[in-house]
């Protein structure tokens, strides 16, 4: 699953579990208008950490919390080591130029 797909899947699942009405998802959707509260984001971030192995908003990162859904997805894409189809093919070391996921 690409980072984008994973993020969207978590947004959808958490909204459903917590009975929140999710606004239509688009890159320019401001997260404040998404229909989700901070608890929802906390759960999404925890589950993405298990799924993707990273938390781009943890204490040791300087990244500001994203404004839009697109920013949110980009935070993860930048934090996750190159994955998707080419995962495992290239060992540690500089990955090839990144493809835009999704």
């Amino acid at each position: 699953m690409s980072v984008r797909t994973e993020v969207v899947a978590q947004f959808t699942q958490v909204a459903e579990e917590q009975n929140k009405v999710l606004a239509p998802l688009a890159d320019d959707l401001p997260l404040l208008n998404s229909g989700l509260d901070s608890l929802c984001f906390a759960v999404i971030v925890a589950r993405l950490e298990d799924a993707l192995g990273v938390d781009p908003f943890s204490a040791d990162s300087d990244a500001p919390f994203p404004m839009t859904l697109g920013d949110f997805i980009r935070s993860y894409e930048n934090a996750v080591p190159y994955r998707d189809v080419f995962t495992g093919l290239f060992g540690p070391g500089a990955p090839p130029a990144r493809r835009r996921a999704g």
């Binding site: 901070s38 906390a42 204490a59």
Partner: protein, 397 residues
């Protein structure tokens, strides 16, 4: 005792148990021990004393004359488990420790055989040891090198009738096939919050047994026992003036009784407050005419400013029919500071079920009774949960 070192000692007691205790105490201390059998005539006493060069007679009755040795009130010092660092030394006496044990009661209709999952060197197990010794009942000790199943098999073989353990001990016991081998008349739970689910499961599994849960701590002693089959305790217990006084202040249960410990050793922290009440650190909540235990004050998880007691969430998860036991813990979170997560042991029948479906079901079940911040963000299915030496679920800080 030192008087008897190197001496020739005649043991003449009114019963075998006391003779056995004297033997254990004096072997290695006295030079010579003479065992006086119950049927020996006192007319031979002088000759025997001379032949054996008896210096002293140890006896529990006065038929042989002599005088009672002054005994002192020995301090029994227990170590608390505690969640942080060095255990505390808690000073009790035999009197404070045996305060909850009713003696001189009528002989039970059928023989009583005690056992406990606990080690007798901790408060919970020590209570059972004292109960057995003071009432003259046999006690089957636990063995750290055997499995729970082996322990239950051994208990069954010895005809154990009365067993004590923590709710975690009992949840694991019910997972063992050997659980059906024992036929207890009395099941006692202590040491952790006994939720309604484990009480119900035990009642269903052992319909002939009386199931009771006791509230006790190393510092506060045994406070009370609840025998009505319900979790928590009746509100009426608080504020009554009886041997054990209960108070609720700042949400936590406080106890004053002759069974509380005297003091701590080696630290300046007082064990009880100036008014003699011990703060147990257990938070209680009143619902109607019943108090329920919410959890330990020092175990609270803070989710974005809202407090969650792990024990409360565990009680809800445990009530789900597919769940055998659970552990709720905190997980650091960059948004809310912390989140609630749960490790869940499923019933054997569900072990091969669809994990994602089971998780959704359990989460849905939690949402019915818990507000959003108390519902676990993540559920992990685990094969077992670690239980400490004390029998309590191991909760890492």
């Amino acid at each position: 005792m030192e008087d008897l070192r190197g001496r020739s000692v005649l043991i003449c007691t009114s019963d075998q148990l006391r003779a056995a205790l004297a033997l254990i105490q004096l072997d290695g201390v006295a030079r010579r021990l003479i065992l006086w059998p119950p049927d020996s005539s006192l007319e031979h006493l002088a000759a025997i004393k001379e032949a054996a060069e008896v210096d002293a007679v140890v006896s529990d009755h006065s038929a042989l004359g002599g005088h009672a040795i002054a005994s002192c009130q020995t301090e029994w010092v227990l170590l608390t488990s505690g969640t942080t660092g060095v255990p505390k030394l808690v000073v009790h006496t035999l009197r404070s420790l045996s305060g909850a044990i009713r003696l001189g009661a009528t002989m039970p209709a059928s023989p009583v055989v005690w056992s406990t999952f606990y080690d007798i060197r901790r408060y919970g197990g020590l209570q059972i040891f004292l109960r057995a010794v003071l009432t003259g009942s046999p006690l089957v000790l636990s063995n750290p090198h055997e499995s729970l199943t082996q322990f239950l098999e051994r208990a069954a073989a010895h005809g154990v009738t009365h067993i004590s353990g923590t709710p975690s001990h009992w949840r694991r016991a019910l997972m063992s096939p050997a659980a059906r081998l024992i036929a207890p008349q009395y099941i006692r739970l202590s040491g952790e919050i006994a939720d309604q689910t484990i009480l119900n499961h035990l009642k269903a599994f052992y319909p002939k047994a009386r199931v009771s849960h006791a509230f006790a701590s190393t510092e506060a002693g045994v406070a009370f026992e609840v025998t009505d089959g319900l979790a928590g305790f009746p509100a009426g217990l608080v504020g009554q003036s009886s041997e054990v006084e209960l108070q609720v202040r700042d949400g936590s249960l406080r106890i004053r009784s002759p069974r509380i410990a005297d003091q701590y050793l080696g630290i300046t922290q007082p064990l009880a407050c100036d008014d003699g009440f011990v703060d147990t650190g257990d938070i209680v909540e009143l619902h109607g005419d019943r108090y329920h235990f919410a959890g330990r004050r020092d175990g609270v998880i803070n989710v974005g400013g809202q407090k969650v007691h792990p024990e409360e969430v565990e009680a809800v998860i445990n009530a789900h029919p597919d769940v055998r036991m659970s552990l709720v813990r905190t997980r650091k979170n960059s948004i809310t500071g912390a989140l609630v997560v749960a490790d869940v042991v499923l019933n054997a029948e569900q072990a091969n079920g669809q994990a994602s479906t089971l998780k959704s079901n359990i989460l849905l079940h939690c949402r019915k009774t818990l507000p959003a911040h108390k519902v676990p963000a993540i559920i992990n299915f685990v094969p077992t949960l670690a239980v400490a030496e004390t029998g309590k679920l191991l909760r890492h800080a």
